[in-house]
């Protein structure tokens, strides 16, 4: 019997387990899924937790509820991948051999990369919201915070869900308005990018929203240190931004396992072929989700499109057929803009987000790059879709894997 191992049971690993348990002949293939956690976290919910929009129960569910029958779930940490020998060394000493390996270990924050970030003020006046603990601690802080300088900050790119910090700034504006204390809060958005976003048309729309919501932008900010004593962040050119409450997105890195295994780049992302999702170095290893180094957004929606293509490529690989070079970098992200509205962006490796209608050209009902209530409903519906369709590898009706160009205003 041959063995296919999926490392990581987050968004990507769970989707692949569901797809492959349907597609592989389980008489010939054993499928193992490895994760050291017991719980699956719905990370898009971390944006809503600090503002008391979601409760912890909305966000956390047992991993095993989403792993299909016929697939073995192994609850232990992988310490090292030995790609030459095709085996994984586990924390408990076990050795797991594989014929095909799918790596889906995601990425995580690494606040220790910036001097002073994880200092005495960590989770006192310096918070992240990219972890469950961070988002929860921030919720408790916001409940009692009396106002002052709120700085929303990105350390360096790439980060997962690159629009999340902007959404955090927008939602802060409406949160403090609702609490009737907006005038007591000065919001500043600090980014290493030259604008609100990386792509020109979306940057224009999003910058406009920042201005409209009275949020000050500081661009091209390459942070050097967090000064805990004087509560300010300082960049390499000596620019300083003072804060009373700093909400930062620290450097994101792939799992340290990659470093130990000699598989990652300097941020522990695995060099991956951007159209086939095969590891550049090892033909029996495939990578998807946040763990890759491909130039696509690190987002659940991207992972969903990747999973559809990767499933087909795994079947081809097993049969010795050439892989399909089909992944186009398709991303589809709702951007919460506050006050019950959101906008939607749809883009890929070559096409930037533009205005238009989605998913039906000319009809909608969703509008691209425009703030609407309908888009906000879409964002909230995403939670249901995530737990009930995305993780199970169900195709989302009308949304194609490859990006559509019809209905868009290029």
């Amino acid at each position: 019997m041959k063995k296919l191992v999926i490392l990581g049971a987050g968004t990507a690993g769970t989707m692949m387990a569901n797809h492959l348990s349907r597609e592989l002949d389980l008489v010939l293939w054993e499928i193992d899924v490895i994760d050291h956690r017991q719980e699956h976290y719905y990370q898009p919910g971390y944006l809503f937790l600090p503002f008391d929009i979601y409760e912890p129960e909305d966000i956390v569910k047992p991993i095993k509820d989403f792993i299909p029958k016929g697939v073995n779930l192994i609850n232990d940490k992988a310490e090292k991948i030995d790609a030459a020998e095709k085996k994984i060394l586990m924390h408990n000493g076990d050795v797991i051999h594989y014929d095909v390996l799918i790596v889906a270990t995601g990425c995580n924050i690494a606040p220790e990369e910036v001097s002073g970030m994880k200092g005495p003020e960590w989770h006192k006046s310096v918070f992240d919201f990219y972890t469950f603990e961070g988002a929860l601690a921030l919720r408790n802080k916001l409940r009692e915070w009396e106002g002052g300088k709120l700085v929303v900050h990105i350390t360096e790119m790439p980060i997962k869900c690159p629009v999340a910090p902007l959404e955090f700034a927008f939602l802060s504006d409406s949160y403090f308005k609702h609490k009737d204390m907006r005038e007591k809060v000065e919001i500043t958005y600090v980014t290493p990018l030259s604008g609100a976003f990386t792509k020109p048309k979306a940057t224009e729309a999003l910058s406009h929203l920042l201005t409209e919501k009275n949020i000050t932008q500081v661009n091209d900010f390459g942070i050097k240190t967090v000064d805990n004593a004087n509560k300010k962040i300082i960049d390499y050119e000596g620019r300083e931004v003072p804060f009373d409450l700093l909400v930062t997105v620290p450097t994101n890195k792939g799992d340290a396992l990659m470093e130990r295994s000699g598989l990652g780049d300097d941020l522990n992302y695995i060099p991956t072929h951007k159209a086939t999702l095969q590891s550049v170095k090892h033909p029996d290893i495939f990578v998807l989700g946040d763990a890759t180094n491909i130039p696509a957004s690190k987002a659940g929606s991207v992972t969903h499109f990747e999973a559809e293509i990767l499933t087909e490529n795994i079947l081809r690989h097993i049969q010795g057929e050439p892989l399909k070079e089909e992944f186009d970098g398709h991303a589809n992200c709702f951007v919460e803009t506050g006050n019950g509205k959101a906008l939607l962006i749809d883009f890929n490796y070559t096409h930037e987000p533009v205005e238009g209608t989605f998913p039906f050209p000319g009809v909608g009902p969703l509008r691209l790059l425009k703030e609407t209530r309908m888009n906000h409903m879409g964002k909230l519906a995403f939670k249901w879709i995530y737990w009930n369709m995305l993780l199970k590898g169900t195709h989302i009706p009308f949304v194609s894997t490859a990006m559509q160009t019809e209905g868009k205003h290029f």
């Binding site: 290493p192 091209d220 050097k224 050119e237 130039p295 957004s297």
Partner: protein, 103 residues
């Protein structure tokens, strides 16, 4: 669109980044550097430009961190050699696209 740089008609995008690397040469780099307020390009500037072009050729996404660890320049020096947005200025001078920084 086309722009006159160092006496040649060069294809650039709306932000002034070259869209056809084959049109790049050192005189083009010099003129863009002047335009960006960098002044004279020193051997250290050139070492960085070479490195950036090489990484781009290999399709390795560029970031300030990576450059800082490359051994070619540390982050502090990079900021002092190309002040105010070192990566976007250095790539423009090197004739390669502005790093998308991955989105």
């Amino acid at each position: 669109m086309e722009k006159m740089i160092a006496g040649k008609n060069i294809q650039v995008n709306e932000e002034g980044y070259l869209t056809d690397f084959s049109q790049w040469d050192k005189s083009v780099a010099h003129e863009i550097a002047h335009h960006e307020g960098i002044g004279e390009l020193t051997p250290h500037h050139w070492k960085i430009i070479d490195y950036l072009q090489d990484q781009h050729k290999q399709e390795i996404p560029l970031s300030i961190r990576k450059i800082g660890k490359s051994g070619v320049v540390d982050i502090e020096q990079f900021y002092s050699l190309f002040p105010q947005g070192p990566l976007k200025k250095a790539t423009k001078i090197a004739g390669i696209p502005k790093p998308a920084s991955c989105i």
